[in-house]
Amino acid sequence: MKIAMLEGLAPTSILLDEKELNSAQETLATNQLPTTRMEAWKYTRVAKLGKTKYVLSEDDTVSSIDTYKISSSATTFVFVNGHFSEELSSDEIPEGVSISPLSACMEGEIDSTNLVLEGELFNALNTAFLTDGILIDVDAKTTLEQPIQILHILKGEASLSNFKTIIHAGDFSKAEIIQGFFAEDADKAFANVTSEIRIGQNAFLTINKVQYEAENTSHISTEQVDQGKDSTFTINTITLNGGLVRNNLNIAVIGENCTTNLNGAYLLKGKQHIDNHTVVDHKVPNCNSNELYKGVIDESATAVFNGKVFVRKDAQKINAFQSNGNVLMSDNASVNSKPELEIYADDVKCSHGSTTGQLDEEAVFYLRARGLSEKSARKLMVSAFIGDVLDKIENEDVLNFTHKLLKDRFAWDFE
C-alpha cells in the first residue's frame, strides 16, 4: 500500500467478484491520490483526504431519521456510515422489485461491475474496502408506484463510508430512486460512493440525488450508467452542503432511441468546493440528451463543472444539449466551468454553453425601484435562476424537501 490513509483499514467482507477485488488492490498498490496536475482533477484538491486517518466506523445507528426523510411515501432504506440499519428501514418491499443490502448477498449474487477500477483510485478504494451497499433489481414490465429512498447518514469523527448502489432496471420497467446524503455529528467524515446502473430496454429510471452533508465532510461519488435501447434516464443532482464534493456521472448510451436528462443544482457558501464531472457518451444513433447544471456560489466557495458529451462515429441523428450557468454572489466565490463536445458523426444537433456572472445589478435596482427590498430582489432573481433546474424535478416531495433545505441553510425562501 502506498497511500497512508489505507493503513489499518480492514478489507471488505462483501462477497464481490474476486477478479474485481484483485483489480482494485492492484490500483491501490500502484496509484497515488490524484493531484491537480491531472486533467480530471485540475481544479479539485484531494490531498487533504490523504492526510486524514480514516476509520471504518462501527457506529451504525441514529436516534431518528425524521429530518432526513425526503419522501414520506417511499420505501426507505437507511445506511449509517455505510452500515445497513434494519430497524430504521421499511419492513415491506413492494412487489416486482427485489432489494437487498449487499451484506446479505451470497457469493455470485452480486454481478460483475461496469465500474472502471483501473487507474480510478476512489473506485478502487470503494471496492476494496466496501462497507455495504444495496442491490435493487426492478423486474421487467414493473412500474413502481412509490419511489425507493436510500438515506445515507455519516456520523462520527473521520468515519469513512464506502458504499455501492447497484440498480438493474428491467425491460419496460419504471422506477424512481431517491438518494439522500446527510451528516450527523460528523467531523472530517468521508463518503466514497459508487453506483452501477443498468437500464433495460424501454425502461424509465429517475434518480433524485440530494447531497446535504456538512461543511467539513467529503463526498466522492461515481455513477456508471449503461442505457439500453428505447430507455429514458433522468438524474437530478441537488448539492446543498458538503465541504468537498465530487460527483462523477458517467452515462454510456449504448442503445438507440434513448433519452437522457441530467440536471444539477448546486448552492454553496463558506469554503465549500463542489465539482460536477459528467460524461454522456453517445455510442449509437437516434438519441437525445439534455443537460442543465446551475450553481449559486457565495462567500469563499468554489464550484467546478466539467461536462463532456461524446458523439461517436456513426452515432448520427443525435440531439445533445448541454448548459451550465453560475451566479457568483461574492467577490471571493469562484467557478471553473468547462463544457466539452467531441463529435465524430456528421449529422447531429449539439450545443453547449456556459455562463458565469453576478446578479444583474441593473435588475436589482429595477426591482428595488418598484418597492422590493434588496433582499427580496436578490431572492427573486436567485430563485428564478435556480428555478430552471428545480422545475425539472417532478417529485413534489423532493422539491419541497429541497426548498426546506434552501431555507434552513441559505435563508432562501423561494416558495
Binding site: F365, A369, E374, S376, L380, A384
Partner: protein
C-alpha cells in the same frame, strides 16, 4: 409634493447636475426638456436613488421627507415611481409575481394588510386593460421578449398597479409609434388626479400633444434655465435649443 433645491450631482467625479431647482405640486404635470447631455436622465436616476451618482449639494423634500436620505425601495414605498428609459429584462421573474411582492412590501411598510390574491388579480385585469397590455404579457417574465412598445406599456402598467404619488417618466415616449404613444398617454391621463403629480422627461414635443403639461422646463447644463407654459415645448421643437442659449447668454 417635491421640492428640489440647488441639487448638485456627480458621476465618476464629473458634475452633471449643477444647482437644479424644481418644485412640483400635487395635481400638476411638468415636462422637462433639454438637449442631450443636459442631465435629464441623471435627474431621474438621482431621484430614484441610483447609487452610481453622488449628490454633492442640495436638498430634495418629498412630501415632508428627506428623499436623499432614503434607500431606493423606501423612496418607492413613499410613492415615487420611475418609468425607466430602458426597462430591464429579468428572465424567470414573473411580472405579476414581483408586482405582488412589491405591493405587499409597500403595504407592510405602511402598516397595511397584504392584498388578497383575488383583489390583486382583479387589479391586474383592470390596470392591464388600461394600457392595453395583453394579460398574458403581464404574467410573463419581466420585459423578456417584449417589444419596445410593450416594455414602455409595461412601465405604465406597473405605475398603475403601484399608484404612486409622483411619477417620473424618463423618455417613455422614445421609440414608440403613434398608437403606442396614445396608449401610454391615455394611461397617464387616466391615472392623473389632484393627489398625484407627474414629471415627464422627453426629447420630443410629440408626447405633450397627448399629455398636456402645466409647465415646461428647459434643462441645460445641469440647471433649469427656463420655465414656460405648454407652448414652450412647441417652440423648442421648432427652434431647437440655441436660441435659449443666446437668450440666457449661456
Amino acid at each position: 409634493m417635491i421640492t428640489i433645491k440647488n441639487l448638485h450631482a456627480t458621476i465618476n467625479g464629473k458634475e452633471i447636475l449643477k444647482g437644479l431647482n424644481l418644485t412640483v405640486n400635487a395635481g400638476e404635470i411638468h415636462a422637462i426638456m433639454g438637449p442631450n447631455g443636459a442631465g435629464k436622465s441623471t435627474l431621474a436616476s438621482v431621484l430614484a436613488g441610483r447609487e452610481d451618482y453622488e449628490v454633492t449639494e442640495g436638498t430634495v423634500d418629498f412630501d415632508g421627507t428627506d428623499l436623499l436620505e432614503m434607500d431606493t425601495e423606501d423612496r418607492a414605498r413613499e410613492g415615487l415611481f420611475l418609468a425607466f428609459q430602458y426597462p430591464v429584462e429579468i428572465p424567470g421573474v414573473s411580472n405579476i409575481n414581483f408586482l405582488r411582492t412589491a405591493i405587499n412590501e409597500i403595504r407592510e411598510y405602511k402598516g397595511k394588510e397584504a392584498m388578497s390574491a383575488k383583489e390583486f388579480m382583479a387589479m391586474v385585469r383592470e390596470k392591464s386593460a388600461l394600457v392595453e397590455l395583453d394579460p398574458k404579457l403581464a404574467s410573463r417574465s419581466v420585459n423578456e421578449g417584449f417589444s419596445g412598445g410593450e416594455k414602455k406599456r409595461n412601465e405604465i402598467f406597473q405605475m398603475a398597479m403601484l399608484e404612486p404619488k409622483l411619477s417620473i417618466l424618463d423618455e417613455t415616449d422614445s421609440g414608440l409609434d403613434i398608437d403606442a404613444l396614445r396608449i401610454v398617454a391615455n394611461g397617464v391621463n387616466t391615472l392623473k388626479s389632484d393627489k398625484n403629480a407627474t414629471i415627464i422627461i422627453t426629447h420630443y414635443q410629440r408626447l405633450l400633444d397627448h399629455i398636456i403639461p402645466d409647465f415646461v422646463h428647459v434643462l441645460y447644463d445641469g440647471k433649469i434655465v427656463k420655465t414656460g407654459p405648454k407652448e414652450l415645448a412647441l417652440e423648442l421643437e421648432e427652434k431647437g435649443y440655441d436660441w435659449i442659449k443666446e437668450e440666457m447668454a449661456l
